[in-house]
């Protein structure tokens, strides 16, 4: 059973109160089966995880008290993530190590906390997300990788796509939202590392890259057999505007 090694948590009520609530950042993975759950599902799940892990959350005062949790950049359904982030507001003494241990005891292997720290940054500074994509498709992987690099290069022909937003559908060129794309052939598969716009100002869902490859290169045919044609997307981290140039991860 997944929850067999459950810790006996210290009740949050037994912890001394802090003078003022503080924010801690929790870095966690969302992999495997959890890629099929939406951001909304994730928010609801975390509300419950925090309760059963007895994390001393600060509650808003007023008519309908609720805990305050803020997520980093939402992960699209169908993508996995290794460095997802959530900021929590706590109001009692608890160490980062305790938070990590208590949370991991209440999570499955597909979602585990890797790090807990007091952040110096805000999620609004996130500018780029880094994705690793793995593709299996008919054709020569080396030729396909080269073709991908060509069409997604910064100086390539504009790729106009319909982006859905709350204010309606919009035609946009996705190339300016790509920092870099590098595709290589590896064991008969294509591996891509892509740095794409991320954050609440501008965000490029990696699925648009898949669509561009499908439309322009005819790879990943939609009617292909499931064992012949597939792809996976994994988000491995974030950069802020300065970090992307020097390769310093957002923390």
């Amino acid at each position: 059973m997944l929850s067999q090694n459950k810790l006996k948590h210290i009740s949050k009520f037994d912890r001394p109160k802090l003078d003022a609530p503080i924010t801690v950042r929790v870095v966690f993975s969302k992999t495997g089966n959890l890629q099929y759950f939406s951001h909304l599902d994730l928010q609801r799940t975390w509300q419950r995880v925090l309760v059963r892990a007895s994390i001393p959350m600060w509650y808003t005062q007023g008519f309908n008290p609720h805990s305050k949790i803020v997520f980093g950049v939402p992960l699209p359904v169908g993508s996995e993530g290794l460095e997802e982030m959530v900021d929590l507001r706590i109001d009692r003494e608890i160490t980062p190590a305790e938070i990590k241990a208590q949370l991991n005891a209440e999570l499955t292997a597909e979602m585990q906390v890797s790090e807990v720290y007091v952040p110096k940054t805000s999620f609004s500074e996130i500018a780029w997300g880094v994705y690793q994509m793995t593709l299996k498709t008919p054709g020569d992987p080396i030729d396909n990788a080269n073709a991908i690099n060509k069409i997604l290069a910064p100086d390539a022909e504009p790729i106009i796509m319909t982006k859905r937003s709350k204010s309606g559908d919009k035609e946009v060129n996705i190339l300016p939202m790509i920092h870099s794309v590098k595709a290589v052939a590896c064991d008969g598969l294509i591996k891509i590392r892509a740095t794409l716009r991320a954050g609440n100002v501008e965000n490029l869902n990696p699925e648009y890259l898949i669509k561009a490859m499908r439309d322009r290169l005819g790879i990943l045919p939609e009617d292909g057999a499931m064992d012949e044609v597939w792809y996976r997307i994994l988000r491995i981290g974030f950069y802020d505007e300065a970090g992307v140039e020097v390769g310093k991860w957002f923390r």
Binding site: M1, L2, S3, K6, F13, G32, N33, L34, Q35, Y36, F37, S38, L40, D41, L42, R44, T45, Q47, R48, V49, L50, V51, R52, A53, Y59, P65, V77, G78, E106, L107, T108, E110, K136, A225, M226, D227, V229, W230, Y231, R232
Partner: protein
Amino acid sequence: MNQNEKRMLLTSVSRPGRYAGGEYGQVIKDKTAVKARFAFAFPDSYEIGMSNLGVRILYHCLNLHEDIWCERTYAPWVDMQEKMREQNVPLTCPESGDPVADFDFLGFTLQYEMCYTTVLNMLELSHIPLRSADRGEDCPLVIGGGPCSYNPEPVADFFDLFNIGEGEEMLPEIVRLYIKMKDEGTYTRAAFLHEAARSIQGVYVPSLYTVTYNEDGTVEAYTPVYDDIPRTVTKRIVKDLDKTPFPDKVVMPYIETVQDRITVEVGRGCIRGCRFCQAGMVYRPVREKSPQVVDCQCRAIFESSGYEEMSLSSLSISDYTKVNELTDSLLSWSNPNMVSLSLPSLRADSFTRELMDKVASIRNSTITFAPEAGSQRLRDVINKNLYEEDLMRAVNVAFDVGKNQVKLYFMQGHPTETDEDLAEIPELAHRVVAAYYQNPNRRKGQHAQVTISVSPFIPKPFTPFQWEPQDTLEEMERKQAFVGSCVHDRRVKYNYHNAKTCRLEAVLARGDRRLAPALEEACRRGFKFEAWSEFFNYEGWMQIFADLGIDPAFYANRRYGLCEVLPWDVIDCGVTKKFLQRENAKAHEGNTTPNCRENCSGCGANKMGGERACCPKTN
């Protein structure tokens, strides 16, 4: 299916979280180390199935056995079914990802008649033959249980075995018998079914009973094919609810489900004896859990789930003898932990200010009561034992604390009903509106809103009204329009159920084995998810009945003879036929029967025993 294939399949359908699995709290075992694998199927969508308390309980009970691995499966939504057929992917269980057809058992819970076609649909998706007679030695044993199994006859041909009654002990016993016979080398499908029917109380193996019919189409007799199996199958109950296994943790859905909260039963059965209500009869004898046990179970689930809502489950929560003691102890820890408490199924006559102040539903502005009939005469016929004064007192308690919306549930088509009775439904609603404006404590500046919801009567097996005909479709629809025409106040909102669905439900509820070809044909024609109005096809059903020469009126609109052999007479649900006949006669005389606590009405269910029951003991 490997992870890459799974990804391509799931990302091509809506709400892929329904099929992903990987929930916190799911039970994973080593499949090479277990001796029996059980697929627990809920014949509706994941969102509905995950909300079911019975599934939670039985999943737990089976998995308590180290050598049994119980997994779950739900009906894939139509878009997923299309993809599965296209890619030739069979129905699987998310825990292991293995096809249902590879399991030892496939158990369906039958919560409502309108799920029958989805059961067949799921068998088809599993590549398992629909009829038990066509299944080979390697096919899973298909088991049915749940409320509808009290008349399993319309689906009898599709099941190898039914659980009649409460499954906590019976279901593991069935699987243990299977393991034992496999270990001993005595297992064959036929030998196992015979032995289960012979030795485990509550097991009904339909293929071991032959049915003969009279010339007029009614049942002549049920005959067991072996001498050593019971002539009638007596339902099973768990004797002591305090000692029965109850899950201390639940499988936590990631996606939003219908009821996603802590749910704990306070007892089973209902003391009231409303004459239309199947649950009120088949769950007898009335048994309670101790408040300390309910409190511990709620607390344990809270700690393992982190749920922010808690609900007590019962057919009539305010009839629980220790309701105040229990709610006090729950609130002592739920309040500081920000967990809200809700109490469904409140009766107007036991609804108090004290109870109201305790429950979270005070935050919503709606409160619901079920008078079930508009006139006192008809409420006496159905044995509701509720007076208008009770209802008026209850709504005034609600108005006193600032509520302005009241929902009232009714039924139409009760035996002996006249248009005068029906006209009383809107009249009662009008009087509730008037009571609002006469209440000096009402919230100023708010208008009253009274919703009346009226659903057609469906005669159900093992109720005093089991013999009664349902109104014809035309009459049901005429009555619906008539009630609407009697509403003269825009503060009264009128809702009603689809009469066509209720008619088919009546056919299936009182049906016999001769309906199997119709269900089979419905599955062949692609019927499924019929509890969803967008998928229910009444005209399609009428066509099937016409094509197969089945008269739906024989089942829905016929007055069954008080002495005729009923299709469900092969089952003994605890209450006697004599009692039901007595209650039926009293209904027609307009006489009520006191509730179980006031006076034992001799229904017969006390013979089953049970701790903390309100029945007199038998010798």
